[in-house]
Structure formats: C-alpha cells, structure tokens
C-alpha cells in the first residue's frame, strides 16, 4: 500500500469539512421540518390528546413515502426542487436539500415515538387541570421527551453521515465521495482506509456527544438509575 500523504492532505481536510457542513445543516433543517411534523403525528393519532385520524393517516403515509426512497434515487428525483431552492442541482450546497428531505421524515417518526412514550398520567393530570393541547405539547410532552428526542437526533446525524457518502453523484463532495472516487474507483487503499477511519471517528464523536447530552439532562433531573 502506497502511503500517499500528499494526496490525503489535499483531499481530506476540505472534504471532512464538507461532510460536517452538509450533515450539520441538513440535520438542522431536518429537525426544523421533522419536529413539528412528529408532534402533529403524535397528538393526532387515535387515543392521543388531539385525535384527527384522517390527518394522521395522511401525514403518516407521506412520511412513509419519504422514508421509502433509496437515497440515491431521492437525490435524482429532487433535482427540480433542489434547483428551485438553491439555484443549482450540483455541488455541496445542493446536496443539503436531498439530505434534509431524507432526514425530516426520519426525525418525525422518532419524535412521534418519543412523545407517545411520555407517561400518560402526567398528560392526564395536565388535562384535568385545564391545559390545552398547545400547553400540553410545549410544557409536558416536549420537555418530558427531550432526552429521547436528543437520542433520536443523534441517530439522525449518524444516518446522515451515511447518506452523505452518496452525494458524490451530484458532485457534493465530502468524505464519502473521496472514499468512492479516489479510494474505490482508483484502487487507492490508503485513501480508502484513511477516509473510513475519519468517518468512524466522526460517528464516534457525534454518538459520544449525543450520549453525553442525554446523560447530563437525566442527571439534572435525577432520573439516572445509577450515578
């Protein structure tokens, strides 16, 4: 194996940054879209605080459709939409749109599940004391489900790091494109291995950060099982 450090240095720092940039922005917008969607999904289901079965069914179907697309196909299918938002369908910024659209339904499902797991008795108590749906969501459901939602966002970030490997199709750059284009297609084992190690480190860091946040909230609330 040839240790081509010069090539690695020309490629990896910039593309590591591109990966972080794409994943961070796509997660931000993904949560921005997915969180409200998840809340609506959770409260409109049968037996929840604002049951609207038809709306729930519609949104649920949309979310399922969004989650069915293989990411590479989503990337191509969204070209006109991406062009409309960003002004081009190629490059790093353009890659953020399909990544966001892939993340939003994923976040919505995770948020829905997190909210539904909040203890019914607390919700019931709030309702008896006269809280409306908005108050229950903002004062009870979201704060109670926060650690679980944060775990979900961590999961989303890791998922997006995986998806971002595909944006090389549209010239999006990032470590995934380097691994495929220079490592795999050009048989450069050194580049491939270095890239994969960087991706592992990135995923580890994200997961560690997410876990740390979740644990510190639990600690503050005194809900850790063991110190």
């Amino acid at each position: 194996m040839e240790l081509d450090f010069e090539l690695a240095l020309r490629l990896l720092p910039l593309q590591l940054w591109n990966t972080i940039y794409m994943v961070a922005l796509a997660s931000f917008f993904g949560v921005l879209l997915g969180l409200p969607l998840g809340v609506v999904l959770a409260i409109t289901d049968k037996g929840q605080i604002a049951p609207k079965p038809r709306l729930h069914k519609l949104l649920s179907t949309l979310v399922n459709i969004g989650r069915s697309f293989p990411f590479a196909i989503l990337l191509v299918a969204l070209i006109p939409f991406t062009r409309w938002i960003i002004g081009t369908s190629l490059g790093t910024n353009a890659s953020i749109v399909p990544l966001t659209i892939a993340a939003a339904p994923f976040v919505a499902r995770l948020v829905e599940n997190s909210l539904k797991e909040v203890d019914r008795h607390i919700v019931e108590a709030a309702r008896v004391m006269g809280s409306n749906a908005w108050q229950i969501v903002t004062k009870i459901l979201l704060p109670e489900a926060l650690p679980s939602i944060l775990s979900g966002i961590t999961l989303t970030l890791v998922n997006l790091i995986g998806n971002s490997a595909m944006v090389g199709l549209v010239g999006g750059g990032g470590l995934g494109q380097v691994a495929i284009q220079y490592g795999y297609n050009r048989f450069n084992a050194f580049i491939m291995i270095t890239t994969v190690i960087l991706l592992i480190l990135l995923v580890q860091t994200v997961q560690w950060g997410g876990n740390y946040l979740v644990r510190s909230i639990a600690k503050k609330r005194g809900t850790l099982l063991y110190e």
Binding site: L90, G168, L169, Q177
Partner: protein, 268 residues
C-alpha cells in the same frame, strides 16, 4: 457439488460451445477469420464488410459479446483471431493485469465525448469563475480533462495523463470550478452549469446530438478510439491485412458517417 449444479454443468458446456462455434467440433478452415466484438457498433461494422472479405475467400465469423474480459482472453488463447470492442487505454490496462501479448491492428471508430452547454454558444464565451461538470469515474474524468486541455481551457501537469483528476490541473486561466459528477447525472444537470463534458451514449439518451449540439468533440486522434486488437506479431497475416484494409476503407468511412450521423465517427 450438489445435484442441481451437476445438472447445470452440461448446459454450461453447451453454452460455451455455442459461444465458440469453431473451438470444439470442426477444425477451422484455413479461410476462416474469427473476431469477437461488442454488438453495437462493432459487430454491425464487421457485418458490413463480411461480403467484401468473402470475395477474397475469407469467411468472417463474428462472435458477439457484451463482456469486456472474454474477448481478450479468447484472443490470447487463440480462440479468436482478433477482437473489436476496446480502446487502447483499456487494452493497456488489461495487458498490465493479465500479461496478454496483443497489440492494435488499426483504430476504427470513436464515440466522441463532447462538451455541451445550455448557456453559451461557444467555448470562448465561458465566463470567469464558470462551472464545468465532468464525469467522476477514472477513465471518463481523465478523458474529459484531456478534452478540456485540447480546447485550451485548462492545462494538466502531464499533458497526456490518462489517469488525471482535477488535482492534476496546473493552469486554469478562467478560474473555472470543475465539478466531478456521476457520468449519468450530467445531462440531467446541464442547466445548472456553464458547460459539461458528456459521453456520447448519455448525450444521445438526453436527446443531445453530438454533431449539432456539442461545442467541442474529441477528434479521431483521441486515444479513446476503439481498435481491432490482435496477437502481437501477427499484423502481416494476409487475412488480418485484408480485414484492416476493409475496415479502414473509404466505403467504411462513408458507412459510419451515414449510419451513425456523428454519434460515432471514423478514426482512420
């Protein structure tokens, strides 16, 4: 080996025998010339000269295959006398990998990569800091960069590097941003860039006409012209000489130009 595999084996042998009609049963006649070729356009072109060779007492047997490894192996193992499906960079890669002893008999045709644009009418109008999309796979990326170099748009460290990437660009006077994109994606995104290098097959599928729409096309000097390959040292065999003569005739040139209308051009 389980039972189902045993039953499949005779079928497999029969299939192999069918692919190589001459190799098992009949002893090949002196006048038979076997050529392995890809179906389009290679086998079509060979089919066109069959009568001419027949007039010279040569029975041209065309073995059509889509596979890219079999024709060179068959050539090296003397199952065919020539093959016609590859360009020289691919042939050299195969020689390096499998140590075949083969060489090009003649360059025949080229599916020219072109530079296309929806925004500008001439490469001189490329704006400063413009964006050009090129394919990101090794062969086509280098091919696109060589084409851009030939048009005087960029310069490469090594002017004939068949493995060049954007990192090997040494001069880029217009400070163009060169985006490496999946080859099949480029026609779909042509609206988003100032110009793009597109392989002919993808251009045709996107209803672009190489002869009318391209701002620049590879010419017949391109190293990516498809060649007839033969075993080293056999170029003076009379039947191969006849094959070369027929495949590089004016008649063939007219036939290619008229049949493929610029999507495939003669390279001789």
């Amino acid at each position: 080996m389980n039972r189902s595999n045993k039953r499949l084996l005779p079928i497999l042998f029969a299939a192999i025998a069918a692919i190589f009609p001459g190799c098992s049963s009949k002893n090949s006649a002196q006048s038979e010339l076997k050529v392995a070729a890809s179906p389009v356009p290679h086998a079509q072109l060979l089919e066109f000269i069959k009568p001419d060779l027949k007039a010279k007492g040569i029975e041209l047997v065309i073995i059509t295959t889509d596979d890219y490894n079999m024709p060179n192996r068959a050539l090296s193992e003397k199952e065919v006398d020539a093959n016609f499906f590859q360009h020289i960079p691919f042939m050299e890669e195969q020689i390096e990998q499998f140590h075949y002893k083969m060489e090009s008999l003649a360059k025949i045709e080229l599916e020219p990569m072109g530079i296309y644009s929806k925004k500008i009418g001439s490469l001189n109008d490329l704006p400063l800091n413009g964006v050009i999309a090129i394919p990101n796979d090794p062969t086509n990326e280098a091919r696109a960069l060589l084409l851009l170099q030939k048009q005087g748009i960029i310069e490469l460290d090594d002017a004939s590097d068949l493995t060049a990437t954007v990192l090997d660009i040494s001069s880029n006077p217009k400070n163009l941003k060169i985006l490496e994109v999946d080859a099949a994606m480029i026609p779909r995104s042509l609206n988003d860039v100032d110009a793009a290098a597109i392989n002919t097959n993808y251009a045709l599928e996107a209803r672009l006409s190489p002869s009318n729409d391209a701002l620049a096309l590879e010419d017949q000097d391109s190293p990516y012209a498809n060649v007839i390959a033969i075993r080293t040292g056999e170029e003076s065999r009379s039947d191969l000489e006849a094959l070369k003569e027929a495949m590089t005739s004016d008649k063939m040139r007219d036939y290619i130009n008229q049949k493929y209308k610029g999507a495939i051009i003669p390279a001789f």
